[in-house]
Symmetry: C2
C-alpha cells in the first residue's frame, strides 16, 4: 500500500474529535475528552495501520480492533462511520434506547467482538483474538487500545504474560497515556520510562511515541508489524481533551459532556484545525480469501464408555468428553490455569496440544482470552476449580453482555471436596453463573450425564457453565441416555409419593439414599436430578410438586443463596408451591467429604428430616 | 539482638520439613514438597528476621507474617509450633474436622490474619497490614510469602503497584521460586533475572538469593529492613521437595502426600541432616508497648440533615455519612479505585486524607488491602461501582472465609444508572454478596436510610455490603428514623390490602407509585422497604404475607437470580407463601433510567400488573 497522506489523517483525527464532542453533547453524557486524546491513534490505525474491509466487519481475515478503554466508545463509533460502515449522522443517536451505539461498546454492533467498559478486559480478549489467528491460520493482526489508568488492573499484566508466553507478534497494544484517570492523575502520570519498563519486563516490545504525532504513530505500527517473537505495545503520550485549549490536559473533565454552547465553541476551534484540500484517506482492504464454514456432526461423538455402577468423578468424565469432542470439532479449544491435572483438561491437551492454551494461574486472562477466541469462531472451554472462576467474576458478567460462545467448566464444587478446606470449595458459583441471565448452567451427577452434557454445551450457541465434582460417584445412567438442556430426570417415583426432592450433582446420591431410607419406613418420595439448573425443567418440577401435595425439598452442595433451591423455588412459584431448601449455611471447614456433607446439612438424614418436617408444615398462606 | 546461630536455623528448617511430611502423610493429603522449598525461608523469618511474641500472636506490635501461598499451610503450622505456640504433636491433627489446622490457613487460628489458599490474595492483604502499621503508628514489619506460580495472578501486580505508591518500606515479600507449578513448570521457571525485572519495574527493591542459603536469607531480610521509601522483595531460588533426594526439583509431586513408607524413608533422610549439638534458636520479642483500646460512641454520629422530599442519591448520602463517621471513629478508613467522585468517598478523603487510600483501578487490591487493614483493627470501607466489585469476587468469597470486618460499598446499582449501559450496571451484586453466608447486605432507598445504615454497618462486627444507586431519590424518612440490621419498613398498609409488594432501593418508589395507582382503582396493597436484604426481616414479611392472603410480589433493580426476590421467597417458605418476582431478565442496554426500568419490567405499571395477575393465580399446590 501507499503511505497515507498525513494531512488526510490529520483531518480524520480532527473530525473524530468533532464527532465525539457532538455525540456526547447530544446525549448529554459520555466521555469526550477520553476520545480526544486517542484521535490520532484511531486515525492512524483505521486509515494506516490496519488492513480490513470496512463494509464487512466480520471478515475472518480483517485486522481486529478492540477498544479496551470502552468509555471512549464515541471515537470508536466515529472511526467506523469515517470508514464508511454507517452514516456519520447516526453518531448523534449515541446512548439512545433505540440505537446500538450504546454508552460502552457491545457486540450488538457488527464491529465489536466483545463488550468493554470494565477496564482491563479488552486486552485479555485481544490475546484470545490473536491466538485465534494462529488457529485459523490467518495473517490478521490484532490491535487493542487501552487507557493508562487501566494499567492498574492486574488483568492487564495477566494478559501481558500470556501474550509473551505465546510470542503473539500479531498483537499490538496501544496505551493512550493521557495521564489523567477519572478522579485524579494516574499513578505514573506521564512517566513514560516507568511505564515502558513494566511492559519490557513482561516481555513486550515497547515503543514510546508522541500520541498526537501521526508519522510517529505510523512508524510505530510498522515497527510493531516488523517485530517477531513477541507482542508490541505503543505507549502514546497524549493529552486528555487534546485539540480544544480549554480542555487539554485538564483534570475534572472525565465523563462530562460539553454543554451545547461549550460544544459549539469547541467544534469551531477544531474546525479551524482542518487542513484544506487534503485528500480523502485510503482504507486498505484485507487480502481476498474465502473460507468454508466448518460443519460438525456431533452425532459422531462417541458414546460414554461406562457401565452402571462404575465409579467416576464428573470432573474426569468432563476431561474425557472434552478430548473426544476436540476430535470431531476443530473449533473446540481448551484453556487452563495450571490445574489441568485436577480438572482433567490435560486429556484434551494430550490429544490436541495445538488447541490447548496454558495461561498459568490467571483466571481473568483465561476467561478473557476465551471471550476473544469465541468472538472469532472458536468454541473455548476454559476450566479451573469452580471457586477460582469467581476470580473472573467480572469477566463472566461481561461475557453475558458480550453474548459470547464460551463454555466455562468448574471442578471441585462444594464441601464434598473435603480436606482442602473452604478456600478450595465452590459454594457460590451457581449464584454467580445463574445471575447472568443468558448463561446456561449444567450440573451432572455421573459420568454419563457429564459426558453427554459436554456435547450439549458445545452444540449450544451461547455462554454456558458446567459444574463438576471432585469425588468419584457411581454411574447411574445408561450410555444411551440423553440429557437435553432444560431437562431433568425423575429417578424415583410412585403413585404414593409424599414429597419431591430435587437434587443435582453429589446430592443426587444423598437423595437416593434418603429415598431408600424412607421406603423402608413405608414412605415414598419422588427424586429428581435437576442436571440443567438454568434453564430448569419447570414443567417436570411443577408436575412433581402437584403429584406430591406441594411438598418440595431441594438439596445442594452450595450456599443457600442463588443456587438450585432458588431456581426450583422460582420455577414453582406460578404453581403455588413453596420449596424448603437444604444448603450449606455457614463457612465450612476442612474434613472428610461425607462428614462435611452431614455436618452442613445436605446428607441423606437431613433430607429425610426435611421431608418429614415439610409434611407437618402449615399449608399455604393462601389456603 | 544477637545474630541467630546458623546451625540452629538449619535444624529448624530440617524439622519444618519433617513436620510437613509427617502431618501430610498422617492426613493422607496436602502439599509437602511446597513446604519443603520454603523451609529455610520460614526458619530465617521466624527465628531471625521477624520480631514477635510467639505467645501472643495478636499483639498489635508484632511483625506480621502472611502465607500467600496458602497450600504450604503445614510449614506455617510447624513454624508456630516450633516457636512454641502449641505442641508439635498437634501438627498431626492437620486437616481433621475437629482441628483448626485446616488444609489452608484460616483466621480460626490466632496467628492467621486472613484466609489464604486462593493465590495472589495474601500479598494484597499484606499491603493493607502494612498500611495499618502507619495508621496505628507501629513499627511492625509485614512479611508475606508467595509462590512463583502465584505471580501469574494479576492481583499480585495490583498489590505491587499499591505497595510502591505508598512507599511501604515496612513490607517485605518473599517469593519461593521453586520453578514448579501444580501441573507443569512455571512460566519463568528459575529465570531469576526476568522475575527481578518485573518487581523492579513495579518500583520494588528486588533481591535474588539462594533460598536454601540461611546466611544469604538473613542478609536479605536485613537489606530489606534497611531499605527506605519502597517495599522489598526477596526472590528465593529454591527446589520443590528440597532435602529429600527423590523429591527435589521433581515435577509431578504437587499436592501429593507421601505414603507411610515413603514418609519414613524421607524423614530418616532428613534426620541425618540435623546438626548435632546446635543451640536452640532465639525468638526475639517485639518492643514492649501497651495500647489502650479505642472506644467509640456511635450515638455521637450527627443525624442526617435532610427534610422529607429532598432529592438526594443514596451514593451521595453514603459519602456524607462516611465522612462524618470518620470524624468520630479513628479506626474507619476508606479505599477507592479511582471513582471517588462518583461514589462520593471523596468526602471522606477531604475530611480524613491520612486514612484514605487510593489504589487506582485495582478492585482486587482494594478489597484485599481492606481485608488486611480489617484484620489489624481498622474498619475499612472500600467502595467503587457495584458492578466492579465483581472484579474482586474471589476476594469477597475469601473475606467471608476470613470473617473480616470489611464494609463494602457499591454504587450505581441496576438499570437505573441509565445511559452508560450494561457494563456499568450492577445486576448480580446482590447474588454475589448474599451467597457469602456471613455477609450482611443493605440496600437503602433514600438519604436518611443510607446515612443511618452506614453507621449500622460500622457498628456491626463482620463483613457487610451496602448497595447504593445513581439517581437522586426523594427523602421519605424522618431524620430520627432508625434502621436496625435485619429490619424493614412497612410504608403502606391498610386493613384491606390484597397483596404485599416488597421493594428496595429505587424500586421502593415504583412500588409506592403502583400503590397509588391501585388505590385510585379502589385496591389497597402493602408496601415494604426491605432495606436489610440479608438478614431479611422474615417476621414482618410473614405477617404481611398472611395479612394479604399470601399474595406477595417482589421487585428489584437486579437480575432475577440470587437477589431480593430469592431472599423474600426463602424467608416466606416456612409460612407457605410463594413470591412472584419482578426483576431484570435479559441483558439490558443504554437508555434513560425510567425507560429502562419500564422496558425491563420493574416499573410501577409492571407491579400493578403483577399484583393483578397474582390475585388471579391458582392457590397453593397443596390446597
Amino acid at each position: 500500500m501507499t503511505a497515507p497522506s498525513i494531512p488526510a489523517l490529520r483531518n480524520v483525527a480532527t473530525r473524530l474529535r468533532i464527532d465525539s464532542i457532538r455525540a456526547t453533547t447530544e446525549a448529554a453524557s459520555g466521555h469526550p475528552t477520553t476520545c480526544m486524546s486517542a484521535a490520532e491513534v484511531m486515525a492512524a490505525l483505521f486509515f494506516g495501520g490496519m488492513r480490513f474491509d470496512p463494509t464487512d466487519p466480520q471478515n475472518p481475515d480483517n485486522d481486529r480492533f478492540v477498544l479496551s478503554k470502552g468509555h471512549a466508545a464515541p471515537v470508536l463509533y466515529a472511526a467506523w462511520a469515517a470508514a464508511g460502515l454507517f452514516p456519520r449522522e447516526e453518531l448523534l443517536h449515541l446512548r439512545r434506547i433505540d440505537s446500538d451505539l450504546e454508552g460502552h461498546p457491545t457486540p450488538r454492533l457488527s464491529f465489536v467482538d466483545v463488550a468493554t467498559g470494565s477496564l482491563g478486559q479488552g486486552i485479555c480478549a485481544a490475546v484470545g483474538i490473536a491466538l485465534n489467528a494462529r488457529r485459523i491460520e490467518s495473517g490478521y493482526r490484532t490491535y487493542v487500545l487501552l487507557g493508562d489508568g487501566e494499567m492498574a488492573e492486574g488483568s492487564v499484566w495477566e494478559a501481558a504474560a500470556v501474550g509473551a508466553r505465546y510470542a503473539l507478534d500479531s498483537l499490538c497494544a496501544i496505551v493512550d497515556v493521557n495521564g489523567l484517570g477519572q478522579s485524579q492523575p494516574t499513578q505514573l502520570a506521564h512517566d513514560m520510562e516507568a511505564i515502558a519498563a513494566r511492559w519490557t519486563a513482561f516481555g513486550w516490545h515497547a515503543l514510546v511515541v508522541d500520541g498526537h504525532d501521526l508519522p510517529a504513530l505510523l512508524e510505530a505500527f510498522e515497527s510493531a508489524r516488523a517485530t517477531k517473537g513477541r507482542p508490541s505495545v505503543v505507549l502514546a503520550k497524549t493529552l486528555k481533551g487534546k485539540g480544544v485549549a480549554s480542555l487539554e490536559g485538564k483534570d475534572g473533565w472525565h465523563g462530562k459532556a460539553l454543554k451545547k454552547e461549550e460544544a459549539d465553541k469547541a467544534v469551531a476551534e477544531l474546525e479551524r484545525q482542518l487542513v484544506a484540500d487534503a485528500p480523502a484517506p485510503p482504507i486498505p482492504g484485507p487480502p481476498a480469501k474465502t473460507r468454508a464454514p466448518v460443519h460438525v456432526d456431533l452425532a459422531t461423538m462417541p458414546a460414554p464408555a461406562y457401565k452402571k455402577g462404575d465409579m467416576v468423578a464428573t470432573r474426569e468424565a468432563y476431561g474425557t468428553a472434552l478430548a473426544a469432542l476436540g476430535g470431531i470439532d476443530p473449533r473446540v479449544v481448551a484453556l487452563d490455569a495450571d490445574v489441568k491435572n485436577s480438572t482433567f483438561s490435560e486429556r484434551f491437551e494430550k490429544a490436541h496440544p495445538e488447541r490447548f492454551y496454558q495461561v498459568f494461574i490467571a483466571e481473568q486472562a483465561m476467561v478473557g482470552a476465551a471471550m476473544g477466541l469465541a468472538a472469532r469462531g472458536a468454541i473455548p472451554f476454559p476450566s479451573t476449580f469452580a471457586c477460582f472462576l469467581t476470580r473472573a467474576g467480572d469477566f463472566i458478567r461481561m461475557a453475558g453482555i458480550s453474548f459470547v460462545n464460551v463454555k466455562l467448566a468448574g471442578s471441585h464444587a462444594g464441601v464434598s471436596i473435603g480436606e482442602d478446606g473452604p478456600s478450595q470449595m465452590a459454594l457460590e458459583d451457581l449464584a454467580l453463573m445463574r445471575a447472568v441471565p443468558n448463561c446456561t448452567v449444567l450440573y451432572p451427577c455421573d459420568g454419563v450425564s457429564a459426558e453427554r452434557l459436554v456435547a450439549e454445551m458445545a452444540a449450544l450457541d451461547g455462554l454456558a457453565y458446567m459444574r463438576t465434582s471432585r469425588p468419584k460417584t457411581p454411574v447411574i445412567y445408561g450410555t444411551d441416555e440423553r440429557f437435553p438442556i432444560g431437562g431433568s430426570k425423575v429417578l424415583r417415583q410412585s403413585s404414593s409419593d409424599v414429597a419431591t426432592v430435587v437434587a443435582a450433582g453429589v446430592t443426587v446420591y444423598q437423595a437416593l439414599a434418603a429415598c431408600e431410607d424412607l421406603r423402608q419406613q413405608g414412605v415414598n418420595i419422588r427424586v429428581i436430578d435437576a442436571y440443567s439448573v438454568q434453564p430448569i425443567d419447570a414443567a417436570t418440577l411443577a408436575a412433581a410438586a402437584k403429584a406430591t401435595g406441594g411438598v418440595v425439598v431441594s438439596v445442594e452442595d452450595h450456599y443457600a443463596a442463588g443456587g438450585l433451591g432458588d431456581a426450583v423455588s422460582e420455577a414453582l412459584a406460578p404453581a403455588g408451591a413453596v420449596v424448603r431448601r437444604l444448603a450449606v449455611r455457614e463457612i465450612p471447614r476442612s474434613g472428610p467429604p461425607d462428614d462435611l456433607m452431614d455436618r452442613y446439612g445436605i446428607s441423606a438424614r437431613h433430607i429425610v428430616a426435611a421431608v418429614e418436617a415439610a409434611r407437618r408444615a402449615p399449608t399455604s398462606a393462601r389456603s
